[in-house]
């Protein structure tokens, strides 16, 4: 289904929050204002690595208008946080590990008092040597950033014997790939408000991908039972994985408790850059051997991820990268060694694609190099190694059988031919070259084997006759708020208008797990499927009583319960609500994301995968090495399409984010300090950079019982390698480091003899052209 076909679906409807967002009228949690609220802020480290000799807050406390100045001594519970491993200090006690580390927090009547107080806090540091590179961190002689050392996590996978595989290979290609420290660049920077309630509880309004997750973490920090904390967490002005971990929530809660007043914090963009998570920069070495016919015989991989100062989800990101190091290819001899390493370079964590984008850039680069070395079409090399429907997953685990791989490859073949036929038109200028590149990927959804991937939801009839669907997922811009009513209409046979969605408030929603790993839409589908029988039974039983009919004669329908055969409305949902009184029908279930039945498989191994094929077109300016993406076309297989407008948005938005990763985005650091400290130097694509984008949503011929897979990440994953391949196609330079730097590209072109003189039209570049003589002759005559 292409975009036009998606647009023609009856489910192509504007999202419920669309108008408010488009007009800038949406009230986000960081827009909240409370009479009498205090302004909060934190003091972050002056150094990327230091010992703290002394912190003196006495002068800050005396500044008029200052209500509280807190340090580690004021944390009643655990002075640490982290989704899996609690190693990140709320307030540093004696050691600084990155420039975002917090030493103190202040609440004041005004921003002026706050800023004065933060400036008045005196910290005596003892700077320590900065560990700026993972390879440096792994040396025995390196300073240890944590008691356990600098190696946060190691993950290996092997199959067969790579030595044997390489010995049998006719061609071996080897390269080192480097990927950038990409920033999520959500429009809404971190912040929120915390209100101390009269009953001694706290209500925290702060965007997060997982309200219950934040609640558990805050309860640990406060030393409270979780139930004393209410988290209101949606809507969110973008997240992309960057708001799953805590950010300013601990300071909001601690300051509100200390002052007994509402406290608001909203980080500036500069502070967000300094403190926020980033995508793991990875250095990936790959050696791949193949037989003359293109069959890959051996694949050896070493991944070193810069996870920065603290753990957050670093181990899981590495596991994902290791799992996806062979992608959709079936290879007999494989060895993958992965290392996630602490440095003083910010903190890397969860980010759309979750380690898949980095390793796919490397893997697809290897496929192109192999094709080049063998003289075989890059698409054909991929096909010769591609997985079949029922093949195992990359870690040898059983996965849900799928035709996704074949379908996206067929898309790539079709689209590439179409694009190539358009490219026969010659370039407008002598100084431009065009290129076309392809890439494919498979991407696991959900958290994987042995991860706490619980989900669930609740449906109930409200007093006003609405069908209320409550989930613990968050609306972080991805559009789950639009997908839920559409799924309810499909699976509960109601109308979209019958549905009310409740999200983002721990006092009102059940636990559904985090809005992460492309799982929310799929989990809504699974939950509603399981809820359906009970819900139907309760509703029909109620309707039978109200209408004095047999249950077997009735069915659920738009607006209410209908006659099963004639279809006439028997009782509206409002009628049923009125008749039910206080005994309103309600069904709640708890469930788990589907996992592979192979319990022996590695932690995190996935069961459900989505697939994407990308065709990229670029135009390279030979004089400046500027690269413009002129076309970006994606074929996506991700189960069915729930919310077509959201689907298109995710793939196109993901595509643009993938372009940023490929061509311009990198939070540059120098010795642990950010060089790109704001959006004037950290560039993301603008509307002017967005190319022509075509999309094909490939719908499975048969629904396989696992429903929609979710498309939150898949649109970002294979974009960079397709662009890199297109650049190679245009000018013959292999790309090994992202983002592509123009200076590196121009220097590489020069090394290959690709200079101005080679491209200049012959008249102008050759001394003895007849043109010059004729001109002179004609002018003198």
């Amino acid at each position: 289904m292409d975009r036009d076909q998606l647009r023609s679906l009856p489910t192509w409807i504007p999202r419920p929050d669309g108008w408010e967002k488009a007009r800038g009228r949406m009230r986000y949690l960081t827009d909240l204002h409370h009479p009498g609220m205090l302004i909060g802020g934190v003091l972050r480290s002056d150094y990327p690595h230091a010992r703290i000799r002394h912190i003196d807050t006495s002068r800050a406390q005396q500044i008029p208008g200052v209500r509280a100045v807190l340090t580690w001594r004021d944390v009643p519970g655990l002075n640490r946080y982290g989704i899996v491993i609690q190693d990140q200090p709320v307030f540093c006690e004696d050691r600084i590990r990155y420039v975002g580390d917090v030493l103190a927090a202040v609440a004041a009547d005004s921003r002026a008092s706050l800023e004065q107080a933060l400036a008045a806090i005196q910290v005596e540091y003892e700077p320590l040597p900065v560990v700026a590179q993972p390879e440096q961190a792994l040396r025995r002689t390196s300073v240890k950033l944590h008691p356990t050392g600098n190696l946060l996590h190691r993950r290996t996978f092997s199959r067969g014997d790579v030595t044997q595989g390489f010995a049998a290979s006719a061609v071996i290609v080897e390269a080192v790939y480097e990927t950038p420290r990409q920033m999520h660049t959500y429009m809404e920077t971190e912040g929120g408000m915390c209100i101390p309630e009269p009953d001694g509880s706290l209500t925290l309004y702060a965007p997060t991908q997982h309200g219950y997750g934040d609640r558990a973490q805050l309860a640990r920090i406060l030393g409270w039972p979780e139930e004393r904390i209410r988290i209101v967490s949606s809507p969110i002005g973008g997240s992309f994985g960057g708001k799953d971990e805590l950010n300013v929530q601990p300071y909001l809660a601690l300051l509100a408790l200390a002052t007994g007043k509402p406290v608001k914090i909203h980080q500036s963009r500069a502070e967000s850059v300094r403190s926020g998570l980033k995508r793991h920069p990875m250095r990936i070495w790959m050696r791949t051997g193949a037989a003359r016919d293109g069959r890959i015989l051996a694949h050896d991989v070493r991944i070193v991820a810069d996870t920065g100062a603290y753990a957050t989800l670093g181990p899981a990101v590495l596991d994902f990268a290791v799992e996806h190091a062979t992608g959709p290819y079936i290879i007999d001899h494989v060895r993958v060694r992965g290392y996630s390493v602490h440095t003083n370079c910010g903190v890397a964590g969860e980010f759309r694609g979750f380690g898949g984008n980095q390793v796919t850039f490397a893997l697809e680069g290897q496929m192109d190099r192999l094709a080049d070395a063998l003289g075989i079409d890059p698409l054909e090399v991929r096909r010769r190694n591609f997985r079949a429907h029922s093949d195992c997953g990359p870690l040898g685990q059983t996965i849900a059988p799928t035709e996704g791989a074949d379908e996206v490859l067929a898309f790539v073949e079709r689209k590439r031919a179409e694009v190539q036929s358009r490219h026969t038109v010659t370039s407008a200028s002598a100084y431009h070259r065009r290129g076309i590149g392809i890439a494919v990927t498979m991407h696991g959804g959900g958290l994987g084997l042995r991860r706490p991937d619980h989900t669930g939801g609740r449906v109930r009839l409200t007093r006003h006759g609405k069908i209320e669907l409550a989930f613990g997922f968050e609306e972080c811009g991805q559009g789950v708020i639009a997908a839920i009513p559409l799924l309810a209409a499909e699976l509960l046979d109601c109308a979209v208008e019958d549905v009310e969605v409740v999200l983002g408030d721990t006092s009102r929603v059940p636990r559904s797990g985090s809005s992460t790993a492309s799982r929310a839409t799929g989990m809504v589908w699974h939950t509603l499927k399981r809820i359906r029988p009970d819900w139907e039974s309760k509703m029909l039983s109620l309707a039978a009583r109200v209408a004095e009919r047999r249950e077997s004669d009735l069915r659920l329908g738009p607006g209410g319960v209908h006659e099963r055969n004639a279809g006439r409305l028997v009782a509206s949902y409002a009628d049923l609500a009125a008749a039910a009184g206080d005994d309103l029908p309600e069904v709640e279930i708890a469930s788990h994301f589907p996992v592979t039945p192979d319990t022996w498989a590695q932690d995190g191994a996935h069961y459900l995968y989505s697939f994407a094929g990308v065709v990229a077109e670029v135009d390279v300016d030979l004089l400046t090495a500027e690269v413009r993406v002129t076309g970006l076309h994606q074929g996506v297989w991700a189960g069915g399409v729930v919310n077509p407008m959201g689907y298109v948005g995710q793939i196109e938005g993901g595509g643009v984010m993938g372009m940023g990763f490929a061509l311009m985005e990198d939070a540059l650091m120098d010795e642990g300090r950010y060089v790109t400290r704001n959006l004037d130097t950290y560039l993301i694509p603008t509307a002017l950079d967005v190319p022509e984008m075509e999309l094909e949503a490939i719908i499975p011929k048969v629904e396989d019982g696992h429903g929609p897979r979710g498309v939150g990440e898949i649109g970002t994953v294979a974009v960079a390698p397709a662009i890199a391949a297109a650049i190679h196609d245009a000018i013959g330079v292999w790309i090994t480091a992202l983002p592509v730097r123009q200076d590196v590209l121009l220097a590489e072109m020069a090394k290959r003899g690709e200079t101005l003189w080679r491209w200049m039209p012959s008249d102008a570049s050759k001394e003895s052209t007849s043109w010059g003589r004729e001109r002179i002759a004609s002018s003198s005559s």
Partner: protein
């Protein structure tokens, strides 16, 4: 980013749009980039100024930012102003003074409390070829890696009357390349001249390394673009 800003909104008797007078465009201190872009005179008779204004900032910013503000901040407009031999009127403690943009850049006025009140930009001549380009890391709304402007007058015998080249943008102090210009003056356009120009541009221009591009890159890019521009006169005849 300048440390001090001057609000010009409430200055009376100042035109908001550029005014065409005596073969020059008069740009007052309230004229925004957006107004210049909207001006049909600019579009028709200063097409390269029009192009330059469009690559400064972003649409919302251009509604607020003025041409003179861009000049004062040594922005992307300056190479074009240097090449087009624009002049400006300054106000210094009650005294008005007219000088060329080039003189102004080389004077101490840029650092002193001297206000620029007017900019005069000569009309683009049909006999002169112009070239303007901002090279950056994305398609728009960005700091330049380098901004270039050049103009070339060639007679029918393919002899260069005048070549003007100026470099600016990013952290460059905008400057002309007099050696390059002198090298071409009076010379017949020929491939060996192109090679010399390419070489001298790189040795003469002042530039810098930063986190985003090497100085070498900036030199080669300016040399490539200017040489290709000059060569286009050969190609097109």
């Amino acid at each position: 980013m300048p440390s001090e800003w001057i609000c010009v909104d409430d200055i009376a008797n100042e035109d908001r749009a550029p005014v065409e007078a005596d073969d020059a465009l008069q740009v007052g201190l309230r004229v925004t980039l957006a107004e210049a872009i909207r001006s049909s005179a600019v579009r028709r008779r200063w097409p390269h100024l029009h192009e330059v204004c469009r690559f400064v900032g972003a649409p919302a910013l251009r509604e607020q930012a003025t041409l003179i503000g861009n000049l004062a901040a040594q922005g992307d407009l300056v190479p074009y102003l240097l090449v087009s031999q624009a002049s400006l009127l300054t106000w210094n403690e009650g005294e008005m003074e007219e000088k060329s943009v080039s003189e102004w850049l080389n004077s101490r006025d840029t650092a002193a409390d001297v206000l620029i009140t007017r900019l005069n930009i000569p009309k683009e001549s049909e006999r002169v070829r112009y070239f303007v380009r901002k090279v950056g890391r994305r398609a728009g709304f960005q700091p330049a890696l380098v901004t270039i402007a050049a103009s070339l007058e060639v007679d029918d015998a393919c002899t260069v009357g005048a070549l003007r080249v100026a470099v600016g943008g990013g952290a460059h102090w905008p400057h002309r390349l007099p050696k390059v210009e002198a090298l071409a003056r009076g010379e017949r356009l020929r491939p060996s001249l192109l090679r010399e120009l390419h070489h001298v541009i790189q040795s003469e221009m002042w530039t810098y390394d930063d986190a985003f591009a090497t100085a070498e890159y900036r030199r080669v890019v300016v040399a490539n673009l200017v040489t290709a521009f000059v060569a286009s006169a050969l190609e097109e005849g």
